[in-house]
Symmetry: C2
Subunit: 782 residues, 2 copies
């Protein structure tokens, strides 16, 4: 076990503020991290937090969810059935650039004299704003205020405002607003200096091929098509100027760079303000000129509305988000700030993700190539189910849309049923290392699990006959085919890789087996219910899937016979059938700089030992809490805790939740803080790759499942463990369409019903209580 | 289990002949295979059996052992410690080409009218000869006789003769003798049509960079340097003409093609004969111009001697080979022919391999990229130890020369000691798929094993203090470091891949554990003896290796505590700790065209099942025969036989040996024939990649260990099982420098001593007998 202390940002430069992330001093050194922390996104389009001036920058990422290039995966040694098509989220043209020259000198933050500087990501307004005064080399003082938002209401729209005032004197001012295809214009060499399997790809060939442009006034529109994946893109920018200064406009357009330049004769104290709008449309089927039309229309609407109104709309939408999803931590302001930053990232990563899933880094960085993984299902979906069921449903529907490809992949692996890709954008398996990719079968059960949770939380049973039943049937079939009955009469699943990637290709991974059991059970349950309640849909399904009723019995039988490893001597669940036989990792011999282990040890060395990248059995204890009694949880936790490196950001939330449950308060808080500050304090050392979105979901889970001790199987139950230093924990959620506010203090747990409906029952430490519209339920916690 | 019948060559076109492989009809269709079968080589240089005319050809390979190009291995997904440097044996310029034009029409075998045609690989003479009569389109009859040899006496020399006679009429004849750098001149596309991890690599860049040429008369010399590995090559050709016809000579030289062309005014029945000589020198350190000088000198010597004398020398050297290594099978002529072909391949692959090892395909094809594997140690070294100890010693010394790199590799894998590369040319690990490469730890024990066998057979103890002790100490250290004492007090080796590649990364692979135990024991034994007998050398060693006497105790202790998996219920050795828990492969559901499985199933599917590519436990039973009693051998064999696909050519010999030992006569013969005809009948379907050299060694082992039932631990012991259809099996070998001839009939086993020394004791079925120079020992076999 390694104990990394979070490298917190300096409280002087980054003061505590419950609703804002603040930066009081520009730092080039922190740029790789702050570009991530100050990113803006709406789930569809995302911009890293680069300064408007376009330089300096670690990574100028501008992303559209799902917009990717493909490439053939060349395996150093070929084998049958390896993944063939690499997929990489690529940069769309960068709209953030607004360059400023005063007296022909550029504003360049690292060298500029900045008597005042403040940058703020405002969680309540959903705006990134910056305000600075620049003392130019010629002695002039220039005030620059800018704002940037990625519209939650208008999915395809980015809006900015940029206001320059020369204080106390006149000066010639030039402002150059740009839209820059950096994907093909710049080598991304800073991100490729050393091998790291988690970073992104440099393309040798051009990715975005220009497909015609359009210009009109201060508006420029660009069409592109990717070289291999054949995706199309229409994008553009437009501007609105407000000023009493006189100025000239100049427009310039190259293949990779569009510029609108304002030459201003700025008078003393007379502001010059530009509103800049950018729009993005992408597609796999529509020609780019149509997408350009769409972007054109978006820009027209934006110009008509203006930045201030868009900012007001944005604030309204943010308010609605906090109304349904806020978590308050009373008594610890720094934690409060960090919690809100994490929740805000969840909003930014998911809100307008429609027809796609959520990339591992949201839209804030190139990390993991913009791929979708299972961690959305396990770590992000709980938050969405309780706070944004519409988005949760979109993600489930996206899984359904992949089903045909998953069936095909199952066939390639000699299976029946469906085998979902471990990492993908377009639905094809993109993991070039099958041992920690294709072998991660449990993701199929994670999908079934999250489907069930969504239905349990929302009560939306329609999704089952619409999409869910098919997913459940095909994943259940996969398990039945993958497994087999051993000589012991039990059902075994061999050669799979569980959540922990420091073991691979193991037999009877406990997590996999209990999750697969749940998958089989739920599939049987849902399909039987469907047959009973909607015989027509059942018949259609049987026909479509060539499904026989006996299959359901086989699923139930396999679930019943499922082998779950258990070590009688130690009274714990081995991570897999043979985990306990392995040599224990020598942590004393492992210096700090050798973490993460994956960057410093050959896989064989790691796989050979008892050492965990991330929670595995412990994650099973979280997800299927009700299947394990507290004593075994305590023993499992005691066994795995010292073996877990936390080399994955997915680990601390799970460890925090179980630690909280078994009363390991300090440990729980320590893991919670590792998750909470994963990016803010760059715990994993790779915050520059983008926000660890699943970990932000894990923060929510740690608060709600961990410290508030919430469980939900039909009835909401609470068994809170409020950290000592906190006075209260308050959060909102919707359960079966009923809005609730829960407050946990050291003295009591209170459930407030926020609508006028029927009374609502919850259970607190075994006691059933009822909240009614005018009377919250409050249970004293002795 | 699959039962593939060997696809034997037609006896009509390929008649049975005890000393020759004969081809009576040219067949384009069989060319990929016959190029391999008729290859000529001397262990240093090798030529595939292409027709002189240069076309048609499947693969025109011309090889020098160890001459390779390197390339950076790009892993689709990076990880720490993966192999970095790919190595590929590349073609040296092709000297085989002698093109013939009569009346300006080329001789092109597929279209030519050939009233007579015969090609013969003569095992006794070591010459490939061809004799044909060509009826040209213009009605002329032309007799062509050619011979080709790769000199056993002159390591760097290839010699040919080519004689053309126009029968009964005059004709203009043109003969163009070429030396052709095909490596850079031709795309090798025919070999890359479909994915097959066993085939070779196409280079994008030029491999051989010309470094100056020299010309003189009919001699042309070429110098080259490889682009990346930096190896140098000097080669050249020269000619001698004998004729009464008048002719002109023309010389032509390009970067990749040297030509000497003879324009002959051929008179009726007047032969025109060219002798052609080619020489190759390669190096990693010497500049190419020096190598060109060396080739020049070789050619001068060859021209002075002439082809006929070289052919006489060759016949003498072959006779000496058969004198020491022949195996006679009486009563089955086809088998006799095939046995001699296999033995001849062993001669061709090994005789002048000096300072290198033996590539998996010898010098007969591009298969496995010319890499050296562990199969030399296990399958070829027994033959060499008994028949060519000088060559065996070279191979052991080559292993010693790799020791520093193996130490470095061990460090990369976080080990102490030495970790030998699983596949390599230059000593670096070249396996791009670590699961079936680096993970094959047992090769380290194979090296120790073969060292011991060499010493036991030859009595050459000097090799131990010269090279062996270091190898033994460093490999023993590796095992001690890799393994660990489990809770059961036993010593375990985890996450290794045994010989069978249809399982990977397993715990306590039986083969590995018993071989590692032997390695540890032998290291302890040899080093202790060294300390006692040669204290000075021991001190030097302790200093060089930083060796402490306690280490020896630790090796012994680990050997003693070594865990050997054993299943009490079935009474068999599981292939690894968890092999028996796996699902059994469904052979009934596997059609013939799905073999070899590795080309049709994802590795995960294969690894998940009880299915073997090749003998694993069974190989352990062969190599450490004395450690297992016959009953367990019988049970092990019965268990694994039906699970073994034989997708590797290394499998049948081991299966044959154990089957013979336990009295499964038919099965033994069937496996023996699979090995015997592996290339002759293209059993594996890839004879075009080159000769399966290890399998030819396995043929010898099957005969000597299997059917003659020979065992050797100090004393030679015999327990023969002569196949029913054979009348006698006779073979020669040297044991501790004593030449012996053994004859097995159904009635008796006779040991003849071929020198004049002391009487020699052997044991036959438990009975000790003594052969003396004038009195063979003969033991009746009731």
């Amino acid at each position: 076990m390694r104990r990394t202390e979070p490298r917190l940002l300096s409280p002087h430069d980054h003061p505590v503020d419950p609703w804002r992330l603040v930066e009081r001093r520009f730092s080039s050194r922190l740029l790789p991290r702050t570009e991530t922390l100050f990113a803006t996104a709406n789930g569809f389009v995302g911009l890293r937090g680069n300064p408007e001036e376009g330089r300096p920058g670690h990574d100028h990422g501008t992303f559209v969810n799902g917009f990717h290039e493909t490439w053939p995966i060349h395996h150093a040694e070929e084998a049958y059935g390896l993944a063939r098509t690499g997929q990489t989220m690529v940069d769309v043209p960068d709209p953030k650039i607004i360059k400023l020259y005063v007296d022909d000198e550029p504003l360049y933050l690292p060298h500029a004299m900045l008597p005042s500087y403040e940058r703020v990501l405002d969680f309540r307004r959903g705006v990134l704003e910056r305000s600075l005064v620049w003392e130019t080399p010629s002695g002039k003082r220039v005030q620059v205020r800018s704002q940037r938002l990625t519209s939650l209401r208008h999915r395809h729209l980015v809006a900015m405002s940029y206001e320059v005032t020369v204080l106390g004197s006149d000066a010639p001012v030039v402002i150059s607003s740009q839209l820059h295809n950096r994907q093909d214009a710049e080598p991304h060499d800073t991100r490729q200096e050393q091998f790291d399997p988690r970073t992104t790809r440099v393309f040798d060939d051009r990715v975005l091929h220009a497909q015609g442009t359009r210009e009109d006034g201060e508006r420029i529109l660009l069409g592109y098509r990717t070289g291999r994946s054949g995706m199309t893109l229409g994008c553009g920018m437009d501007h609105l100027v407000t000023t009493d200064n006189t100025y000239q406009v100049h427009r310039e357009l190259g293949q990779d760079l569009a510029k609108v330049t304002y030459t201003v004769q700025a008078r003393a104290d007379e502001p010059f303000r530009i509103e800049k709008f950018a729009s993005y449309h992408t597609s796999s089927t529509v020609p780019s000129h149509e997408l350009v039309d769409r972007a054109d229309r978006v820009l027209s609407r934006a110009v008509a509305v203006g930045f201030d109104q868009l900012a007001a709309d944005q604030a309204e939408d943010c308010a609605a988000f906090w109304e349904r999803a806020d978590v308050e931590v009373e008594g610890d302001e720094r934690t409060q700030q960090a919690v809100r930053w994490n929740l805000f990232q969840l909003l930014q990563a998911t809100e307008r993700a429609e027809g796609t899933s959520i990339p591992a880094k949201g839209l804030t960085g190139h990390g993991y190539e913009g791929h979708y993984f299972w961690d959305v299902d396990v770590y992000v979906m709980p938050f969405l189910a309780y706070s944004a069921p519409r988005v949760a449903k979109n993600v489930l529907r996206w899984r359904r849309s992949l089903l045909d490809m998953a069936r095909q992949r199952a066939q390639e692996l000699d299976h029946v049923g469906a085998l979902y890709p471990w990492r993908t954008i377009n639905g094809e398996e993109a993991s070039a290392y099958y041992m920690a990719g294709t072998a991660q079968y449990p993701l199929n059960a994670d999908i079934a699990y999250t489907l069930r949770r969504y239905v349990d939380v929302t009560g939306d049973e329609d999704i089952l006959s619409e999409s869910g039943a098919e997913i459940l049937a095909e994943t259940a079939r996969l398990w039945l085919d993958l497994g087999f009955y051993g000589d012991d009469g039990q059902f075994h699943l061999h050669a799979v890789t569980g959540p922990d990637e420091y073991t691979a290709m193991v037999d009877d991974n406990t997590f996999t087996n209990v999750m697969a059991r749940r998958n089989l059970q739920y599939a049987a349950e849902v399909l039987e219910r469907l047959a009973e309640r909607d015989p027509h849909r059942w018949e259609v399904l049987c026909h479509d899937l060539d499904l026989r009723a006996e299959e359901i019995d086989q699923w139930r039988a396999a679930a019943e016979a499922m082998h779950v490893p258990y070590d009688e001597v130690r009274g714990i669940h081995p991570q897999d059938a043979h985990f306990l036989e392995r040599k224990r990792w020598d942590f004393d011999r492992t210096p700090d700089e050798k973490y993460p282990l994956l960057l410093h040890y050959h896989p064989l060395v790691i796989y050979r030992h008892q050492v965990l990248k991330q929670a595995d059995v412990i994650l099973a204890l979280c997800l299927l809490s009700e299947e394990f009694d507290e004593d075994v949880k305590r023993r499992d936790f005691a066994y795995y805790e010292p073996l877990t490196t936390g080399d994955s950001s997915l680990s601390p939330p799970a460890q925090a939740m179980v630690a909280a449950e078994i009363g390991e308060h300090e440990t729980a808080l320590r893991h919670f803080e590792q998750a909470l500050y994963m990016d803010l304090a760059d715990v994993a050392g790779n915050a520059d790759h983008g926000v660890h979105v699943a970990c932000t979901g894990g923060v929510w889970m740690s608060l709600v499942y961990g410290f508030a001790g919430m469980r939900d199987n039909g009835v909401l139950r609470f068994d809170p463990r409020l950290p000592q230093g906190w006075e209260a924990l308050r959060f909102r959620l919707r359960k079966r369409d009923r809005p609730l506010r829960i407050e946990v203090t050291h003295d009591a747990l209170t459930v407030e019903l926020l609508d006028d409906g029927e009374p609502f029952d919850v259970e607190v430490r075994g006691k059933l209580v009822s909240a009614s519209p005018d009377a919250p339920a409050s249970v004293p916690l002795s």
